[in-house]
Amino acid sequence: MELLLAVVAGVLYATGLYLMLRRRLAQLIIGLGLLSNGSNILILSAAGVTRAKPPLITGASIAADQFADPVPQSLILTAIVIGFGVLAFALVLAHRIHQSAGSDDIDSFGADSTQALPAKVDRA
């Protein structure tokens, strides 16, 4: 099980990084999403996978090896929430860029579109 998770995490990292190196905004964002999922799975597998032992303490005396470690799960939960928010923001930003540039190719934005500082905000 751990081997499988490790392989999955590795594949997610590799595809995520590959997509982030592409020139299209959409691929970059998908890459980011895969990367954050990869790190979530990595946290789970690095902390050790325990099967069928939920971290719920029902009886009065349960030894520490009788249930899974709840900390990595809470870390992943936090990371998922943060990743979701960040990804949503990145999507909106990419959409805005696509609207204003008319393309989602990063190279077509113009090498130095930043020189002039527009006095007025455009309506986009």
Partner: protein
Amino acid sequence: MLLTLPIVLPLGTAIALHLLPRRSRLLRVVAFLGALLSLVAAVAILLRTLSAGIQVLQVGSWPAPFGITLVADLLSALMVVMAAIIGVAVTGSSFAGVDPRREGLGYHALIHILLMGVSGAFLTGDIFNLYVWFEVMLIASFVLMSLHRTRAQLHAAFTYVGLNLLASAFFLTAIGLLYGQAGTLNFADLAHAWPERRTPGLDAALSMLFLTSFGIKAGLFPLFFWLPASYHTPPAAVGALLAGLLTKVGVYAMIRVFTLLFPDPSASVYTAILVMSAITMVVGLIGALGQHDLRRVLSFNLVGHIGFTTVGLALWTPAAIAGSILYVLHHMLVISTLFLVSGLFLRQKRTTDLRALGGMYRAQPFVACLALIPLFSLAGIPPLSGFIAKLAIVGSMIESRHYLLAGISLSVSLLTILSMARVWEEAFWKQAPDQPARSAHQPRLSAAILGPVVFLVTLTIGLTLAADPAYRVATRAAEQLLDADGYVRAVLGEGVPRAAR
């Protein structure tokens, strides 16, 4: 209780700002007052830390390794104070007028959220919590950067967002692996209990992962390219906030994590930090000389001088770390001031392109002389604060026989002087290219615009005059950092046996 204030006050202010009507003048007043209160709280923490040692708060009374701990040692307290100072200057600069659209979109509240994230990152004693504060701060800065939605700003924001998210992913990866090894996330517990369980191979991988993620955030060579590509687009006040605070949070995280978790100065990661810092100095300053836009020049200077703030960590002596801490403090003040100064140009001439500027000295000698202080301080001209910080760092380099490094630092200072002299000459001294037409209706700079600049310049002069006490505080902070056992005992309690380090 006191330790939560730098986090709770900006949060409360941000909530209050959201409740106020969208277009009222009250927004600015509330934002400014909130920042002032945070500054008072931060100074109180610093004083307490100076007199009574490391301050610890177990949030929710959960005992140390189980709950989240807030810790203020001297470095944290100093950084929180600096963050609050820059917060006051930036919120103060909004009195001179903010684009009403930005204001309507929650500009003031976002600044306070960002300040909350920064203070949280400085104060937390838990590595995963540090990640969360990083994200709070990043999200606020993402929105601040893209609020304006001009094309240039959107593109710059996207570069910034992409690279910073990559850094966060690396950081999260490192945290996951670290937890798998050590079984704890509390800094003190990690420093205390981890050494017995570590394996050399994973250790090296972890330190490199941390170095990469913090290096991207701090702007170290070869990871800095996002910074000059994005910091020149947001309005000057936002630029001052980001330039003054965000890279320094990366530097702070680097110092904190490496002193506590990798206390072996012979590890290969420290050689990497040393080389990266040296190259960062050179590349940053050479880059600055090739730029024609004031804010790009400043961005490259920001990158170049980050090298000075991380090199102390690589040298691993109290004197070197103290020098770096002093440099961080000085650099935060000065670079924020200069970004605010670039705002003066934006307001007057609608551009920061050096070729189009000029004539400032003739029109307003007071402003020009005011700007001279941070310019020369950045270059390290005696007796200003930059000189004192550089003296401390270069002195410690020579002491530890890194002569080549000392040579590089000194030549980089020369390059900085060149770059700053060029800024002064082009922006202030030379004749304005189209003077007669423009000078007639050039708006004079009001007190509200100059106020924050004067405030920060006064503090720079203050740091210069108080050089000796400041250096002594920085030395104490450095000694605290190198004494990991002291940190562990402060957080976990006196009963913890001394770790075999």
